[in-house]
Amino acid sequence: MVSQVVKVTNEQGMHMRPASLFSQTVTPFTSDVKVVFNGTSYDAKSVMMLMSACIKCGAEIEIVCDGPDEQDALKKAVELVEAGLGD
């Protein structure tokens, strides 16, 4: 299992479009991908779960990947958040 803490910097936070892009990006990986925010863990492959976390701009989230391609999944996910989630 690997994980990394990143900061959400796009203005809108984890709204529909960013959440959708995030889940689409991690879905192809075999590994489990979770986002931990405020002590709760959310399935990152589910746009509904991601949105339900109410993650806003400036929030720090931990991305946790577990599975055979966990390194690649984590790298992709972190890059996406750092690049502003497509906003």
């Binding site: 492959k45 589910s46 109410c54």
Partner: protein, 568 residues
Amino acid sequence: MHKGIAASRGIGIGSICVIVEHELTYDAKKIEDVESETKRFQDAVEEFKKETAEMAEDIRKRIGPKEAEILEGHLVMMSDPTMAGEMEKMIAAGQCAESAVSAVCDMFIGMFSKMDDDMMRQRASDISDIKTSLLKLLLGIKDIDISKVAPGTILVAKDLTPSMTSQINKDNVAGIITEVGGKTSHSAILARALEIPAVLSVPDITTLVEDKNTAIVDGTEGIVYINPDGDVLSQYIRKREEFIKKQSELKSFVGVPTKTSDGDSVELFCNIGTPKDAKKAIECDGEGIGLFRSEFLFMDNTHMPTEDEQFNAYKEAAVTMGGKPVIIRTLDIGGDKDIPYLGMKKEENPFLGYRAVRYCLGNKDSYVIQLRAIMRASAFGKIKIMIPLVTCLEELRAVKELVNEIKKDFDANGIDYDKNIEVGCMIETPSASLIADILAKEADFFSIGTNDLTQYTMSVDRGNADVAYLYSTYQPSVLRSIKHIIESGRNAGIPVGMCGEAAADPLMIPLLISFGLTEFSVNPVLVLTARCIISKWSKSEADSLTEKVMAMATESEVVKALKEAAKE
């Protein structure tokens, strides 16, 4: 008369068509044949996706990509494995498809509607729409075909679902009234995009009206009349004509340079608060950004924004404006604007205290971060730096000194920036106004902030109802101050703009033309109105009105004279 939320401007008069909501009732029975129930559910989901994708495509073509996003969002949510997965789990446990859809949707609706974020709460109504559509598909209920209503129809509904709005033909629908929904709801967004007058959140309206009732929808004021008498009707027919005339007149100002009637050009810029607003400025035909308030970066945040975070925001605005000027006001906090993580002290007199440029120069480390971010972004467009609340020359010099140090650092490290980046003063204090001639020698431009200038000149807190009557830009003292600032700037050969509310005020515009204001900066939605009013005044007409007004002794005389001369 019924009151509601004014959601889409204009006046619609016509004959009512009530959209009856079908009761979405079903027997919550136990399922024996799980396999065929799952199939029934999956077929409904497939049908939902197909219909939604078609509607999204239709709206994208007919109205625009932004409006289609709502439906595309529905598609994304219903394609989420969690949504369908949870529903299928419940079916596998013996629930019927309708119960499963309701239960899972209700759970998400409950979750989203409790969030402290407007946009997130909007998701609750998205899921409610999904639920309704899925239940209709499962129960075999067809909506009435709105695309076939007669011309001059006023649609009345509890709520307009996106599937209903996608069928609206703007040639036939004269107005929209609903029981729920606010300014940012789907119905409101679509009504505005289609330019159909709409009043939303009118209590119980669906039960108060019948088909073929005559109705007036005043979407500007948020008022609805059902079966109005002849006087009201003729009054509104007249209002409707005036509105249509005004709208078509304003449309004729799209893409036209801003000029007085005798051909003097002035600049017409926009005030914005976020980089995204720059798009709005372009859509509204603004010619630049006269005031980009940088506070949002600091206020919607839990920490001091980094240089890169700020750089990205400023760059986005500069790129969106594509080479048109973007005047960025550096951090203007203190006064009534507090930012918790900065830990600013409570003050006895915050408006006379540690705010704006005073705070920035007292916290140079963080100010330099902002200036660096702005200057790096200046490589991507025409950015200017504006200093708020200047009261003396030393402040301007101190900021220019910082800018020069950053330039040296950038040159030494090969960082791109606009070498001719301008540094100007916001003139909004009596002190800056009185020494405008001195400041003009060293500032690259001025921008008058009329809100603070009025407050400080009149020594009045406009939030205090007992003294608010003194807060008026038409006070002779304030007018003299504005005149002096503009003339001082013009004498020194620097441009003078105005980014306060007065710049879009039809009564002030002739005075500003006469004083020689070079740039008007207004709320994006007021660009066309301001351009229209400017176009109606010639310099000589404005001069003779101004001469008369500047000789007046009281505010009430001034207002009376300006109102009499006003050109709407």
